[in-house]
């Protein structure tokens, strides 16, 4: 080596050291203090809660928003709220990401000549609208400049309630705008129409499931999307607690709700009227309701022998009589017809007869409650939109306001809002761009619910508050503020400076100061309702029944379009989290699919993931197949969100949607698609993961397994979770809550196809006998002696003194031995640093680390919640009391099927549950002695 090389090397080494040593530790980090501290008493890093209302669906659940450092971090149900009683559904939990969604419309937009949207100021937008309105009201403004005297300005909006609805009226009346019935795709038009015919009240009653001792549901997907799922679930849980509650579910398809019923019968699609007729005839003989005229009303109905009815409905005579008997023997029976049964060709008849049956058995006023009817007063039917489209078509519209509507969901199909561009000026009020809004001339961006003031009246006798949890992120306004502005600019005098003032004025006049306080603090307000007698309009009914002809479903197979528990009518589809969470029945995450019965699959030689072309006369789609247990032969299901356009049509009688296609053709293409089906197998392989319902007797969870290791000692707490499978309905709300609470990354379809899902908590559907499906939530079992702990080479996972199976992320080196050794398969590995949209960063929980690439993660029993509960407890120098700490999943469970707490505290709820005779632990013989206990279902799976 000569000198040059030597020196060169030295230089190199020197440089390297220098660089390296410079990069050791940076400390050039700024701390920016407040200029002037806010005087709202907010302490940095300390969470506050704001009561508001979840607006993800019309149900109107109370939501309390956790806010830390002016960022909304999580939604939780408002405790003791009349609707949701502290719970939120999957969609409600996920709706937080709407606020911070990167795709939100951030400024007013104007469509230019080329059809692109350009930003404009609010003033410009207001001016355009006001001038257009003035013009049209003065000389009648037609489409694009043309004169047309009979033009009208119309205001079409999604379902509104409460003060906003009033304000819309005020605006419309003040400025010559016609207010159209509000748009909801699933508006329960059939039921409301039927009630109008029967009782002269076009209303959707609320159903008091908790009071019932026998419930017969016909097609109604109570726990998924029907009217108020969370409320139904909560009531069901309360009802099922008392031993003599019976529930028979009759449905033409297979739904999550159906599998929760004690008896689930598959009825031939379109034959529900026969079933109800049968029951009516049986009932009318008894004349339970004591209505003398009922008999001759029933006269009008088709008469068949029991066998005849059986043939029509596809149920056995025994089953039919069984239902009739329980209906008659029940003290407080309840019949609910809804869901697919009321959105098919004979949907109206079904609703009509169901209503009549409710009357005939005397449910009206007891279990069917019109006094607290759901608030659909301003809601029209999907059909109205079609009519509007035609009006637009003949240039009949001057200024068109479309507020919070995505009616173009099925634009190419028979249903949808069309010709928007034919309006003189079309104004879209929306938070997100959608097919409808894209056709508008002007877009006014709406503030998210979490940024807005408002109120909601989901049902009679209940007022919810909507108050802002955070400052508006963008240059957006609430509908209320926009309308007030317009009113001001048109008439010259504004009712109030801001919608907030308008609200408070209204509230004070309506409820009085005291109540307003409670409204703001509790988040809701109960209002007295006037008891109004509901009476059957015999003449009208009889007339209607005479003309009633029940057309049998002839053309097979039948395709049923169901609203989805994950995206409802498709509106929640733009929340990525909901696509990440598996569909409870099929465990499919991303993308759409077609559910077909085992029989049909066998017939056509189809298997899961095979692609088929489904086609009817005017609609066709290509979808992968998923075989669905419990689905009767000849019936297929597709979910609203998963196909565009949605094959819907309008029922001329009710104006509601008909969501079933008869005589569709289905043929197999050669393709087999990649579909992310999360559950590997739906068979328990005889492992008794969900054992038979037990009726007491045998000893449970003290595992006999001898161990070489010393027994665990828990000086303070032994945290444990008990899940009552008797109450769990597999709705997946817990999964959603877990994602939001624990910063669980959303990794997308590609990863899922590789089996790399990240959810800490999953719902496993297991096939049971008699075409039944059972559901079981599965998360880290926090084993007393955990297989994962023994194999970690770096002690990144260990059993902590409180019984938690701890996972220390900054210690984990990613060997993945633990995951391989876990018998419950609940450990998740970060294959990449997940890229979240930075806009969503505020939704991260600051109490939980973001896991990086190469790190294992899993359920932590929400350790951060335990820590903060301990923090509170320590401040008052005591232990954590029972009920002071609960996990995110348990907190949001609509049926309160989960209880979390200290298994050592003999007075704790969790202790009581864990020592119930129904308690068991999954794979107990392995000797893992899990900290998670399950309670067997009380109802035998005697489904026929």
């Amino acid at each position: 080596m000569n000198r040059r090389d030597f020196v060169r090397l030295m230089g190199l080494a020197g440089g390297a050291t220098a660089l390296n040593s410079c990069g050791l530790e940076r400390q050039t980090e700024k701390i920016i203090p407040y200029l002037v501290p806010p005087d709202d008493g907010v302490i940095p890093g300390v969470a506050t809660y704001t009561q508001t209302t979840c607006t993800e669906c019309p149900a109107g659940c109370g939501a309390s928003v956790k806010v830390v450092d002016y960022r909304a971090g999580k939604l939780e149900g408002v405790a003791v709220h009349p609707v949701n009683d502290g719970a939120l559904c999957m969609r409600g939990q996920a709706s937080l990401s709407r606020l911070y969604h990167p795709d939100r419309v951030q400024t007013p937009l104007k469509k230019d000549a080329r059809g692109d949207f350009a930003e404009i100021s609010w003033d410009e937008a207001y001016d355009m609208i006001t001038t257009a309105l003035k013009a049209s009201s003065s000389q009648g403004f037609g489409f694009k400049g043309q004169k047309n005297t009979k033009t009208k300005n119309v205001f079409l909006s999604g379902r509104t309630s409460g003060t906003l609805s009033e304000l819309i009226d005020l605006f419309c009346s003040g400025s010559a705008v016609e207010r159209l019935p509000e748009f909801e795709l699933f508006s329960y038009a059939a039921i409301r129409k039927a009630n109008e015919t029967l009782f002269g009240r076009a209303e959707l009653p609320s159903f008091r499931i908790e009071d019932a001792d026998f419930m017969l549901t016909v097609g109604a997907d109570l726990f998924e999307t029907f009217v108020s799922p969370v409320s139904h679930a909560a009531q069901f849980a309360r009802a099922k607690k008392n031993s003599h509650f019976e529930w028979t579910h009759v449905e033409p398809h297979a739904s999550l709700t159906g599998f929760q019923a004690k008896r689930r019968y598959s009825v031939t699609p379109g034959s529900e009227p026969y079933l109800l007729t049968f029951l009516l005839t049986k009932v009318s003989r008894m004349n339970v309701a004591g209505d003398r005229h009922i008999a001759d009303v029933i006269e009008a109905l088709p008469k068949l022998t029991d066998r005849g009815f059986a043939e029509k409905t596809g149920l056995t005579v025994e089953q039919l009589n069984g239902i009739a008997e329980s209906l008659l023997s029940a003290r407080k029976p309840l019949v609910i017809a809804g869901g697919v049964s009321t959105t098919q060709a004979v949907g109206f008849e079904t609703a009509l007869l169901a209503g009549l049956l409710q009357w005939a058995v005397g449910m009206i006023g007891s279990t069917v409650d019109f006094d607290h009817a759901e608030n659909y007063d301003h809601v029209g039917a999907a059909g109205d939109v079609v009519e509007l489209s035609s009006r637009l078509g003949e240039n009949g519209i001057g200024v068109l306001f479309v507020s919070n509507v995505d009616a173009a969901a099925g634009s190419q199909a028979t249903l949808g809002l069309e010709n928007i561009d034919k309006a003189g000026l079309s104004v879209g009020l929306t938070e997100f761009m959608n097919d409808t809004m894209r056709q508008c001339d002007v877009i006014l961006p709406l503030s998210d619910t979490l940024e807005s003031w408002g109120d909601a009246i989901p049902k009679r006798g209940l007022v919810n508050v909507i108050q802002p949890a955070v400052e508006p992120l963008y240059d957006t306004r609430t509908t209320g503020d926009i309308l007030l502005q317009l009113v001001g600019r048109l008439t010259g005098n504004t009712p109030a400076a801001s919608y907030q003032e308008f609200l408070f004025a209204k509230w004070r006049s309506r409820y009085g100061r005291q109540s307003v306080e409670t409204l703001l603090v509790d988040g809701f307000l109960r209002r007295p309702t006037t008891r109004t007698a509901v009476n059957l309009d015999h003449l009208a009914t009889r007339r209607r029944l005479r003309s009633l002809k029940i057309t049998d479903a002839v053309a097979w197979p039948i395709l049923m379009v169901t609203p989805s528990i994950r995206s409802f009518d498709g509106r929640s589809g733009d929340l990525a989290l909901l696509s990440e969470i598996p569909d409870p029945l099929t465990t499919i995450t991303w993308g759409g699919w077609l559910s077909i019965s085992q029989a049909d699959a066998a017939e056509k030689g189809l298997e899961d993931k095979d692609e088929v072309r489904v086609a009817s006369s005017e609609w066709t789609a290509k979808l992968p197949v998923k075989i669905q247990r419990g689905l009767p032969r000849g019936v297929m299901m597709v979910q609203c969100g998963s196909v565009k356009p949605v094959p819907l049509s309008i029922d001329p009688r009710s104006g509601g949607v008909i969501a079933s296609l008869e005589g569709v053709s289905i043929e197999k293409t050669a393709m087999s698609l990649a579909v992310p089906i999360m559950s590997g197998s739906q068979s328990q392989e005889g492992r008794k993961i969900i054992p038979e319902p037990s009726h007491g007797g045998e000893r449970h969870h003290h595992d006999p397994e001898a161990t070489l290791y010393p027994d665990n000692v828990y000086p303070e707490y032994r945290w444990g979770l008990v899940i009552d499978l008797n109450l769990c309905i597999g709705c997946g709300a817990c999964v959603s809550a877990c994602y939001v609470e624990n910063n669980v990354p959303v990794v997308g379809p590609e990863e899922h196809l590789l089996g790399r899902e990240m959810s800490w908590l999953r719902i496993e559907p297991y096939d049971a006998k008699n075409d039944h499906v059972e559901f079981q939530p599965m998360m880290c079992q926090h084993c007393g002696n955990a297989p994962c702990e023994a194999v970690c080479p770096v002690f990144a996972t260990y059993h902590n003194p409180e019984g938690l199976n701890a996972q220390v992320y900054n210690r984990c080196v990613g060997t993945r031995y633990c995951a391989n050794n876990c018998p419950y398969k609940v450990r998740r590995f970060n294959w990449y640093d997940t890229k979240r949209p930075s806009a969503l960063n505020p939704t991260r929980n600051p109490e939980v680390s973001i896991r990086g690439r190469g790190v294992m993660e899993k359920c932590s029993f929400c350790v951060q919640r335990i820590r903060s509960a301990r923090d509170v407890a320590k401040d008052r120098k005591s232990k954590i009391n029972d009920g002071e700490v609960t996990t995110a999943c348990a907190q949001t469970c609509p049926t309160k099927a989960m209880v979390f707490g200290d298994l050592q505290d003999e007075n704790s709820e969790v202790y009581r549950w864990a020592h119930s005779e129904r308690a068991y632990r999954v794979l107990e013989p392995l000797g893992t002695s899990p900290g998670v206990h399950y309670l067997r279902n009380k109802w035998k799976n005697d489904h026929a």
Partner: protein
């Protein structure tokens, strides 16, 4: 010639180490020394001489995980009148007039803080004897003008104290 080679080799060697030491020095200067602050605020004066309590300005020490940095307004509440002639105080009033917050440089920083959940509140309210003082970790600031980090704030240091005070050393105490 051989001799020359040997000497220059030695030169290279010693030069290399000289360079290394200078590099270490540079690193210390850039990253490790007490950072210069936009305003030469002196704890010696405010705590030592005037006798302000820590909580007077760092008001969240007993309420939150953060101790809290006083707002500019807080500073001005006194310095609107007091010592307005001092150049540093004039810097302060300059910030106030421009309505800018003061970009302080962080002195106490946990190395890999995204993995550590530390709460000032819990430590101030810790049930130990003697009670924890701010000075235990931040040094006796009442004696120094320019604040520096006297504790390494590394895990070993945390743990040694947790052990000696009998506090929990369960990983989940700080890592989640």
């Amino acid at each position: 010639m051989k001799k020359f080679l040997a000497i220059s080799a030695a030169a290279g060697f010693f030069a290399f180490f000289a360079a290394v030491f200078l590099a270490l020095g540079a690193d210390w200067y850039r990253n490790k020394r007490a950072p210069d602050q936009p305003i030469a605020f002196s704890h010696k004066i405010h705590v030592g001489k005037v006798g302000l309590k820590c909580e007077t300005c760092h008001k969240y020490t007993h309420q939150s995980t953060f101790a809290g940095i006083p707002s500019v307004q807080k500073c001005m509440s006194c310095h609107a009148q007091v010592a307005t002639d001092r150049p540093e105080v004039q810097k302060l009033s300059g910030y106030w007039e421009r309505q800018e917050p003061i970009p302080w440089n962080r002195v106490h920083r946990i190395r890999i803080r995204e993995h550590v959940f530390f709460s000032h509140k819990r430590h101030m309210k810790a049930d130990v004897d003697p009670k924890l003082e701010c000075a235990n970790c931040h040094g006796e600031v009442q004696y120094v003008d320019k604040l520096r980090r006297v504790s390494s704030l590394e895990m070993g240091w945390c743990v040694s104290c947790h052990v000696s005070k009998g506090a929990s050393t369960d990983c989940l105490t700080c890592h989640r």
